[in-house]
Amino acid sequence: MNIKIAEKISNSALSDEHYFQSIVAEGIRTGILRDEDVEKIQYDTIKLLEDRVKKYNGYDNSSIRIEAAQGILESNLYTIEIFLKTFSSPDDALEYLKKENIFDIYKNGRNRIDNIMNSVKELHVEVMKTIPEIKNYIYNATIVDGIKGFIKIYNPDFESHEIKITADYPVFNSMKKLKGIEFIYEYLKSIYFENIFCSNFLPEDINNLLFRYDEGYEELVINIYELVLSASVASMISKNDIKNLELSFENLDYLYSIFSEKSITDINKIITDNFKDFEDNIFFLNKNQKYYVERSLLKISEGIGRAVRLKKLHKLLGVKEYKKYDEKVFISFGEKMDNDKYRKIIEEIIGCKKLSDKIEIIIENIKSLADFEDMLMDGEFTKKEIIEILKLLNADELNALKEKYRFVSSLEAADLRISEYELAMILSKYNLEGK
């Protein structure tokens, strides 16, 4: 009979991002590390730091800026922990750390970093082969140029924990909090899996989907895989061809009918129950890539649930001209809201880049014509944006506003603030056709 000795330290108690510090802390807490072990680790860490600082300085300088020393220390600890993570249990890793020479552990860690770097380079080659023909600036800048830049400038000797590039293109599934070469490797793996999924669809169909989502998609920070998977899942539920990314109004009506009033759990169940259709029609590279797509379905369900609730499913799935749930803002010249609340809403509006996001905030929060009027002047809108926002009003509301700003003489105009004057000019020329 094999008796398995219970591990004292559980992996869940350890931090991915600060593994070394957390494993030493757990070692102290569980008694695996005694005081003399901790002293030895501290002393060895200093000796290693001294050695690495001398190499960094080229043996010409005996002192170094504290920030630089801190950086080298973090790099040393990251290199050590990357090797300690290879042990099957944290207990075994700590026993090794207690007994072995820290310079040897560091060397093993350095070798592991070199191996991972080789894997990163190979993976990047595969990613480049599977890049979808999409004109999205952030995607290309990050995946093509950014990763190439990382491979060139990564400094495993003194900055092994650093990434140096900004991975601006967001992957869809959440990643563990990692640093250095581990982050890049996991990030590239996610991109690769997403690319493989997207390769099941014609580039033309993906581009059309993105264009319907937002005409300015080339400049947006979006996750392409999310939009493609959402549209494909919606097609599957609507009993269309899974590879058809263009849904009809009837498809949308059907989706609203089955998803409205459903919880995220229910929506997720509907989607996962139909996942076999995916397995039959979509190419999966291997079980890891298939698992990546399966893991995405809950978040896709949340996105669809949110879109259904806000009546914005057409927006998520790139269905243009769907007007069934177009909302008008019903406003009365009523009381103004609390100043603090108003200020926060204005700040939120000003912080949005896209007009559609600003309009969503207005619909949700502005409930009186009085606040609507103030918002037009405080929201730092362009003339074009104001014209679009005015379309939210019905005829009576618009006339009420125009009437308020109709001035008879230039003397009256002189009493207005600049923003009021500009609004008056726009209103005087605006008609219900939005011109």
Binding site: I41, Q42, Y43, T45, I46, L49, E50, V53, K54, N57, D60, N61, S62, S63, I64, R65, I66, E67, A69, Q70, L73
Partner: protein, 157 residues
């Protein structure tokens, strides 16, 4: 951080005491107490300049370089060493670590014995100021704008 400063201080004091073997022939000598005070000055100077150092470091190098200066006597030896240590770390930052410890100490000694004639004020306030500016601008540490002007004048005439 994992660094214990007490261990580093004891190590440094012992290394300074050993320098007496060399400096005695110039009539210069440090007691154990003075060595500890120099180490303390070194740590404070490192602290205020935002730097860290391992081993005895720079104090021995300064002692060995300056011990034959005609401007150092037993009466001012310890006091001048304190100031030289502070000046050294300050100008390590000012030169952005672009010159080595040995080069900086040599410059300090050359200037102290030469143009400064034993004045620490002139060393810190004029010569090192000018040198650090030269280094930051990518020039030779000993570059002088006046000499450059005179060369141009000679070339022209």
């Amino acid at each position: 951080m994992f660094i214990n400063s007490n261990m580093l201080k004891i190590q440094g004091t012992n290394e300074i005491i050993k320098c007496n073997d060399l400096t005695e022939k110039y009539g210069l000598f440090l007691t154990g107490e003075q060595a500890r005070e120099l180490i303390e000055t070194r740590f404070q100077a490192l602290n205020s300049s935002g730097r860290i150092e391992f081993g005895g470091g720079i104090v021995e190098k300064i002692i060995k370089e300056f011990c034959d200066s005609p401007y150092l006597i037993m009466g001012n030896y310890a006091e001048y060493l304190h100031q030289l240590i502070e000046i050294f770390y300050f100008y390590k930052n000012e030169t952005l670590d672009l010159i080595s410890d040995d080069e900086l100490i040599k410059f300090m000694k050359d200037s102290f014995d030469g143009t400064c004639q034993g004045s620490l004020e002139l060393l810190a306030g004029r010569e090192l100021y000018r040198m650090s500016r030269n280094v930051r601008l990518g020039r030779d540490p000993y570059y002088s704008e006046e000499d450059s002007y005179m060369e141009d004048y000679d070339d022209e005439y």
